[in-house]
């Protein structure tokens, strides 16, 4: 067994320079083009999402006009679940339950341009290169690979429409090149007249009583009362982009929410007072590339959520410290 470890180690060591010669390395143009297309193009389409051995289809409609961005994402399988977004407001519909307003982040005005910090982080943590050109659902696409420079994060591969820059397919791969999750559009209309009738909440999608909001996202306080907590072992390359106390739907008390980003993957750390019935939620769980790990730290519940490998979320959760410890 020891010999096998030594061998793995040798192989690892020799494999490192290998990625330098695959594909053509590209700058930050493609990420910019994709982000612009995602937020500034009109499109509607159906995609298949594959994760953890499951397969589901969902439908997305996106409209960008003078009044901003409007979009809707709904499940096509099983009971109806949908997100509807109107600029800064996001509503979550689940079955027959009441709509929930979800917090919208503030910097939406900066769209579609990616922020400089985000771009430099991308460049620091990933090797970005173009791969094959293939046809997906009738569209000619260019594959772009975001290869991490270490094993702390996943590889991301995206297939962007050559004309519009819209993503036709995206996959997340682990270090053994196995697909962790992927989505593929099986049908997509770009530009032109997009059916708008289903887009606005309050019309066909929700009756007025369903619109009662549980959360009050606009009242999230930016107070920095969170300095009493520290996340000691954030993986290399992740920078803190937010730290605040906020209400969370379904919680009586505010939670502390940290967000870290490496340009492509995000990590959230939630800290709250541990209530009853938390036991069944402790431990590791996953949905595709997103891993969640919860543990009790003193009288608090620490939950780490991120598009990163399981060992990274565990490592982060274990490193959360109360001040002075």
């Amino acid at each position: 067994m020891k010999a096998r470890f030594a061998l793995t180690l040798v192989l690892n060591f020799t494999a490192v320079p290998a990625f330098a010669d695959i594909g053509k390395q590209v700058g930050l143009d493609w990420p910019q083009i994709i982000a612009f297309a995602t937020h500034k193009t009109n499109y509607s389409g159906t995609f298949v999402y594959q994760y953890n051995g499951h397969m589901e289809s969902a439908r997305i409609t996106h409209i960008s006009d003078q009044s901003g961005e409007h979009e809707k994402l709904e499940s096509m399988d099983g009971p109806r679940r949908a997100f509807i977004r109107n600029n800064d407001k996001v509503w979550w519909y689940s079955g027959d339950k009441k709509a929930v307003q979800v917090e919208r982040r503030y910097n939406s005005k900066s769209f579609p341009a990616l922020q400089p910090e985000l771009l430099s982080a991308l460049n620091e943590n990933y090797l970005i290169y173009t791969a094959e050109q293939v046809r997906i659902s009738g569209f000619d696409t260019q594959a772009i690979v975001f290869q991490p420079k270490d094993t702390l994060r996943y590889t991301h591969k995206m297939w962007a429409h050559m004309d519009s820059g819209l993503l036709l397919k995206a996959a997340v791969l682990n270090e053994r090149k196995e697909i962790v999750e992927q989505y593929t559009f099986i049908q997509l209309n770009i530009g032109g007249e997009i059916e708008r009738t289903h887009m606005m909440p309050g019309q066909s999608t929700a009756s007025s009583e369903q619109q009662s909001n549980f959360a009050t996202p606009s009242e999230i306080s930016e107070q920095a009362a969170t300095s009493e907590w520290k996340v000691a072992a954030v993986p290399v390359g992740f920078k803190k982009i937010m730290e605040k106390r906020r209400p969370l739907h379904g919680k009586n008390t505010d939670v502390i929410h940290f967000v870290f980003s490496d340009g492509l993957a995000g990590i959230s750390v939630f800290i709250e007072t541990s209530g009853n019935n938390v036991e069944k939620r402790l431990g590791l769980s996953s949905r595709g590339a997103i891993h969640v790990y919860s543990k009790i730290k003193d009288d608090y519940l620490v939950t780490v959520v991120g598009e990163i490998p399981p060992r990274s979320v565990i490592q982060i959760a274990d490193s959360v410290r109360h001040n002075g410890q």
Binding site: F5, L9, N52, I60, V102, L264, R281, G283, I290
Partner: protein, 163 residues
């Protein structure tokens, strides 16, 4: 015991445990039989082209039936030299591995530690309870910039796990 054999097959055991089980396997023919049938089941489930049917017993019987040839051993004068050479090669290989591990130094130590924890199999997310965390996370994740609302599919897709 059966669980442990199955865990051993999946490579989920730690070194110590694996060695214990392997020792037991060597001593216990019944367990060996189990080990074989587990592999057969695995092969059939994976619909692999080469199903490993148990022909070892048949081969064993054929070997028993083979006549024993009684003839004096041919003496090989090169034996001792080969042994010395291969010993020297082993020492060199070991030195190389040792040198490489020195070269890699502290960097790989956490990697090795991580490698061991890689086999942790996360459960699929329960549909309720964690959605709120997922939604709060998605809104701030940089994935939203690139993927747009498609990033929310993690929450939309959760329904099927209830069924």
């Amino acid at each position: 015991m059966k669980q442990k054999i199955s865990a051993l097959m999946d490579g989920e055991l730690f070194d110590d445990d694996a060695e214990t089980i392997l020792d037991k396997l060597k001593q216990n023919p019944d367990m060996q039989e189990e080990w074989r049938s587990y592999h057969l089941i695995g092969d059939v489930l994976r619909q692999s082209d080469n199903v490993h049917a148990n022909i070892s017993i048949a081969i064993h019987k054929r070997l028993q039936a083979e006549p024993t040839v009684l003839s004096p051993h041919k003496r090989d004068s090169h034996n001792a030299r080969w042994l010395a050479l291969s010993a020297a090669a082993s020492v060199m290989a070991l030195t190389l591995v040792a040198w490489l591990s020195m070269q890699v130094g502290s960097e790989t130590v956490p990697q090795l530690a991580m490698r061991q924890s890689q086999n942790v199999q996360p459960a699929n997310l329960p549909a309720h309870g964690l959605d709120d965390y997922l939604m709060a996370h998605q809104e701030f994740s940089p994935g939203l910039d690139v993927h747009g609302m498609t990033a929310y599919v993690h929450t939309v897709a959760s329904q099927q796990e209830d069924q």
